[in-house]
């Protein structure tokens, strides 16, 4: 079964202190405010923010998302934490009960004029067969709908 690898880096600047940005990564109540989007209904999470600690999030996709009713589960481990500097997490994602990817997430913080810079690096392997036939069909329908809308506009 083939797999693919993908890496990307995102840079963001926030007009907030490094302590505050670090807290948004480290504090479960703060992290909850931004981690999931409105299509994902939280079904419980745990977060043991220390090196070797485990984090888990479980969501069910809501109506209006491409795959309503499907469960999305993340299970990760904090690999390294340096207060105010960086957080490294290894994490695997399951979608509809199938494992779809394993990722290494690196959050690096640095000072910059008027705030804090965040560099986020995502390195992942995606597993073939992850989507399954129903999701594949759903994906195609979503894509064809989007295509039809873009052509109609």
């Amino acid at each position: 079964m083939p797999v693919i690898h993908d890496s990307f880096t995102l840079d963001r600047s926030f007009p907030h202190s490094r302590e505050r940005v670090f807290a948004a990564l480290a504090d479960p109540a703060l992290k909850e405010r931004w981690y999931a989007d409105e299509t994902m209904e939280p079904q419980g999470s745990e977060m043991d923010f220390r090196v070797g600690g485990i984090e888990r999030q479980r969501y069910v996709l809501r109506e209006g998302s491409p795959f309503p009713g499907l469960a999305l589960e993340n299970e990760g481990r904090y690999e390294d934490i340096v207060e105010g500097e960086h957080v490294v997490v290894s994490t695997s994602m399951a979608f509809g009960g199938r494992r779809i990817s394993t990722s290494l997430l690196t959050f690096e913080l640095s000072d910059e004029d008027g705030g804090c810079a965040l560099r986020f690096t995502h390195q992942a392997v995606f597993y073939e067969g992850a989507d399954g036939p129903e999701m594949r069909r759903g994906g195609w329908e979503t894509m064809l709908d989007a295509l039809a809308r873009s052509l109609a506009s």
Binding site: H16, A24, R33, H122, A130, W140
Partner: protein, 90 residues
């Protein structure tokens, strides 16, 4: 044409009739779709068969792209959550 191919593989002439276009026009569309890696075609004898390309790798590329888009949105939400906690001085 993509919607028709989503039903299953078809020959060029089977596509041209319901679409009301010439076989040549279908061939031109097909080249565009193949170039975009959305469709594939194969010639058997004198007949060309077209199909969607829902192969594993294409799907995986889609997942990878989806993941990137999701993280961009997530970091935007992080910025918004920070602004909400500590409104930036304006």
């Amino acid at each position: 044409m993509l919607a028709m191919l989503a039903q299953g593989p078809a020959t060029v002439s089977a596509l041209s009739e319901p679409l009301g276009v010439t076989v040549t026009a279908v061939g031109q569309h097909l080249r565009v779709l193949e170039h975009a890696r959305l469709a594939a075609s194969q010639k058997r004898g004198r007949t060309r068969y077209c199909s969607l390309r829902p192969d594993g790798l294409r799907e995986l590329e889609r997942w990878a792209q989806q993941c990137r888009t999701e993280w961009e949105a997530r970091l935007d939400r992080l910025g918004a959550a920070l602004d909400e906690l500590d409104p930036p001085a304006s």
